[in-house]
Amino acid sequence: MDQVTFVLDVMIPAFQNGLLMTLALVAITAPFGLLIGIGVACGRVYGGKGVSWLMKMYAVFFRGCPLLLLLFILYFGLPSFGIVLSPFVASVLGFIFCNSAYNSEYIRGSMISVKEGQLIAAKALGMTRNQAILNIVLPQALRRSIPGVSNEFIYLIKYSSLAYMITVIELTGASKLIATKYFAYNETFFAVAIVYLALVTITTFGANALEKKYAIPG
């Protein structure tokens, strides 16, 4: 098989399916990762002692647990407790845990950076504590966490490549399959690296645009 037919008939169709799966994994994980990250960060900064400790443990555990191990536990380990997750669900769950734990740290950092005086001022204006957090702290904190959270999004794109270990055929899995079948390791992995680079580049531009659009004036 010559190079052209290999690229057109084998590589491109395989990559298309793989890319769709990668995008699906990222698209489903990212919103939950962000929302749970915000929740965990709020709990840590503004929660009571118990809540704050729980949220801290959440971050410690999921940041400390290697993602591959987490995926193996979710996929191969849970069936011994009678919970059989599909490969896709197991990967998305693992990614959400990991993504949200890291996001919570970025968001917590930017929450702390909002000065305490603003909360007191908001209360003086008659806001409750929750209203103040929601309307005063979060809008500023989220803007400040865009660089960190988009960085985490880039990681998410790349750690979606671990899903093939639990049989989800995403971009990396698809490339491994054709590489082993046709012994075309260099070509395949080089091509797949370019696809990842393209995804990350698009994300970087998107993040920059977001940062500009939501820059705090003044």
């Binding site: 059989v84 049989t167 079948k181």
Partner: protein, 273 residues
């Protein structure tokens, strides 16, 4: 302050330095290596050449890493015997199976002696020794399912296989390309123990693998072999195409081994028949 920065730089340089030393000391450490728990050398005398032998670390009874982290198995003992007889040293290196041929081509290892089936596709990129073993593919299922070989051949269920193995290729050629099952019903894994685990979890209905390691993988589990596919695959030692002398040495060594009483002892020891 300046002194602190100086110290910081020193620390960074030291770290890099240590990393670099580590790199030069382990030339056999490849990106494809799953784990590098095992390097064993035989009678290190200086004038003998040392060859690095790539094995699948999870392929009992041919090659596997035992509880002490040492390489063991039918093939591992065979290559050590051949090395002893033919006058070279070996270093056993366990690696990821789906990356073992590129590692051989790249010169990270000098041969693959680990139950590798001789196929036309592989022969295009590497040379093979004379065959030393013949195996068939076996199909296993969970005891609860009551599925039979007829169900397997009719495509009634998901099939699990290790990526890059002849079992996976067989299913693809015969069941997927024959439109008996859709491509997403062939599920591939990194290694066979994961396939066996998922078969036990009932996520897949069948598993396909070479018979001897299959027997080992399903032992003590509620799984059993329901049939064999007579593929008559021959195992050979893979060697770089640019290494014809080594190929000759190995061929000679294997012929000697198969003619010696040790061959039968090995077969008995690993319950090969």
């Amino acid at each position: 302050m300046e002194r602190k920065i100086g110290l910081l730089f020193l620390a960074i340089f030291l770290t890099f330095g240590i990393c670099l030393c580590g790199c030069t000391e382990k030339p056999a450490d490849t990106s494809g290596a799953v784990a590098t728990p095992e390097t064993s050398e035989i009678s290190a005398s200086d004038d003998k050449p040392t060859y690095i032998v790539g094995i699948d670390g999870e392929y009992p009874p041919y090659s596997f890493i035992n509880k002490n982290g040492e390489a063991e198995g039918f093939d591992v003992e065979s290559v050590k015997w051949v090395a002893d007889k033919m006058g070279f040293n070996v270093k056993i290196q366990a690696m990821a199976w789906d990356g073992i041929i590129p590692a051989l081509q790249a010169g990270k290892i000098d041969m693959v002696y680990s139950g590798m089936t001789i196929t036309d596709e592989r022969k295009e990129v590497v040379d093979f020794s004379n065959p030393y073993w013949i195996v068939n593919q076996s199909v296993a299922t969970h005891d609860d399912t009551g599925l039979t070989m007829d169900d397997f051949n009719a495509g009634k269920g998901k099939v699990g296989a290790q990526r890059g193995t002849t079992g996976a290729f067989w299913v693809e050629e015969n069941l997927v390309n024959g439109s008996i099952i859709s491509p997403d019903m062939l599920i591939t894994y990194d290694n066979f123990p994961l396939v066996a685990t998922d078969l036990q979890n009932k996520r897949i209905d069948f598993a396909i693998y070479d018979r001897p390691p299959m027997l080992d993988a399903i032992e003590g589990k509620p799984l059993s072999i329901i049939g064999e596919i007579d593929t008559g695959e021959e195992y050979g030692v893979a060697i770089r195409k640019t290494d014809p002398e080594l190929l000759e040495t190995i061929n000679e060594g294997i012929a000697l081994l198969m003619a010696s009483p040790e061959w039968d002892e090995l077969k008995q020891k690993y319950e090969m028949e």
